[in-house]
């Protein structure tokens, strides 16, 4: 874009926060954080923090959304007013409506919906602190919260964002790279299945750059997948002990 970043996004092969192009920020996660929800998770990609809660399977309200043969998933992605530099108006924006839709479509493919006919599974995602890559962090959190709720899944879903600074493809954008970079390619992956569940692209990309972005995203997903498994194992162990 024409906008000039306040600091160079890449210098000597290092990014503004000192990372290498293909280096992901530290990922931390915690499940079962909300006592009221059937499943919940708090996930951080660096300074981006998202809280996910799953309610359900439960009776659909309003009734008319009921599907006779399967569960209906509803997703609400929302950014808290204090999560951004300038206060964000809490009313849902067109961006949030679109993200809610694509995240819903990513999750629908992995949940065994046919096991819960005539019910809804509600997934609520609140971005508490935003530093880029909020939609992919939300997906990882949603997938953990679904697993925490004990809802059968075909696979865990990992969100990874890929971007571009000049010709360099980078992994896990922070806010500066999101605002001033040359492209944004959020991806969600069902890791063991090798399925792409969400893929969007912003900016101008050569076909070869898209290919490289996909490869880097799959590589980054591996570590996140491992820590998701460990986190869930730990959670199930404490449930067993209780």
């Amino acid at each position: 874009m024409a906008k000039q970043p306040p600091v160079p996004l890449l210098s000597n092969g290092k990014r503004v926060d000192g990372r290498l192009p293909e280096e992901h920020r530290p990922v931390t996660m915690q499940v079962g954080v909300l006592p009221n929800a059937n499943g919940s998770a708090l996930v951080a990609y660096g300074n981006t923090v998202v809280l996910a809660a799953v309610y359900g399977p439960r009776e659909p309200i309003p009734r008319y959304i009921t599907a006779p043969d399967k569960a209906v998933i509803r997703v609400r992605y929302h950014m808290a007013p204090f999560s951004t530099d300038d206060r964000k108006n809490p009313a849902p924006t067109r961006r949030e409506i679109e993200i809610s839709k694509v995240v819903k479509e990513a999750l629908e493919t992995v949940v065994f919906l046919e096991q819960y006919p005539k019910s809804t599974i509600d997934v609520f995602l609140e971005v508490l602190q935003a530093d880029g890559s909020t939609r992919v962090t939300s997906i990882t959190a949603a997938s953990l919260a679904l697993a925490d709720a004990g809802i059968p899944l075909r696979d865990l879903v990992i969100g990874v964002s890929v971007g571009k600074v000049g010709d360099t493809v980078i992994v896990d954008l922070n806010k500066l790279e999101d605002n001033y970079g040359d492209g944004d390619l959020p991806i969600a992956i069902a890791y063991r299945k090798g399925w792409i569940l969400l893929m969007q692209l912003d900016g101008v990309w050569k076909p070869s750059e898209v290919k490289r972005g996909l490869e880097l995203a799959f590589k980054a997903a591996e570590n996140i997948y491992r820590s998701m498994r460990e986190t869930l194992k730990g959670r199930y162990m404490t449930v067993v002990q209780q």
Partner: protein, 278 residues
């Protein structure tokens, strides 16, 4: 898109799946070929630019309006571009009155991204006083009859209406700016940058383009690639799942489909028609 009330009998479903597995479609098309396309530009006299697209039985109309606006803080030297898509209840039995739903918002935003990144619209030409006054270009897309593939047909309507757009002259009088609607100047688009979308639908393991509503409803996944024929300017995955190999093949075939389609579109939008006919 999902339309919960569209029901296809399972016998019909089986027949369609079998046909597609043999590389055929009910209307004798190949898996990656589109329905008959016709585009007419200049059909709405009250609009500053307009186009109506017929893609098989899918009909979409797009209208452009220019208004005076203030530039956004981060783009003082560019006009404003706003894309809006409506699915009025006259277009399908499942459409309901009301503000754009998530499906309509998604399509409008994908088209917006593709237009912005392709550099097709000379947004820098739409500045009146840098940092103070610019044109706001409204692209309103109306679906008139929904028979599948709204994304690609809406994109075709948008790029065609833009090519047809005439900008009303701005009159600067001291501190005030007014638009003189009686004098209009042709908008200078960059035809080589024209972006088009190709949306793939997955049925079993097969990929098809330009589905009818029936094919769309029974599909297992959706993936849109927007390109100017050279670069990728937007991607959007809908439902279902896709493998990296499938993404690769969709991107490659899009480049050639877009190149051929652009030649057709540029030919069709050469001469404004004048009469509004479906």
């Amino acid at each position: 898109m999902s339309y919960p009330f569209e029901i296809i009998p399972s016998l019909r479903r089986e027949t369609l799946r079998r046909l597609i597995s043999e590389g055929k479609r009910p209307d004798n098309r190949q898996l990656l070929s589109m329905r008959d396309l016709s585009i007419k530009v200049g059909v709405v006299k009250t609009a500053d630019g307009s186009a109506i697209v017929n893609l098989g039985n899918t009909k979409v109309i797009a209208g452009i309006k220019f208004e005076l606006g203030k530039p956004f803080e981060d783009t003082p030297n560019e006009g404003n571009l706003i894309v809006n898509l409506e699915t009025p209840p006259l277009a399908a039995p499942t459409f309901e009155p009301g503000p754009p739903d998530e499906n309509a918002i998604e399509i409008a935003r994908v088209i917006d991204r593709a237009l912005r990144h392709s550099n097709y619209i000379p947004l820098r030409d739409l500045v009146i006083i840098p940092g103070k006054s610019v044109y706001t270009m409204w692209i309103d897309i109306y679906v008139l009859n929904h028979d599948g593939n709204l994304i690609d047909s809406s994109m075709l309507a948008a790029v065609s209406a833009i090519a047809n757009a005439q900008v009303p002259r701005a009159i600067i009088d001291g501190d005030t700016v007014k638009l003189d609607k009686s004098t209009k100047i042709q908008l200078n688009v960059n035809p080589q940058n024209m972006p088009l979308t190709v949306t793939y639908y997955k049925i079993d393991k097969y990929l098809i383009v330009d589905p009818t509503l029936e094919e769309e409803v029974m599909s297992d996944g959706r993936f849109t690639v927007a390109s100017d024929g050279e670069n990728i300017v937007a991607l959007q995955k809908g439902g279902g799942y896709f493998t990296p190999e499938e993404v690769d093949s969709m991107i490659n075939s899009t480049l050639s489909i877009v190149k051929d389609l652009k030649v057709k579109v540029l030919e069709m939008i050469k001469n404004p028609t004048g009469a509004l006919m479906l």
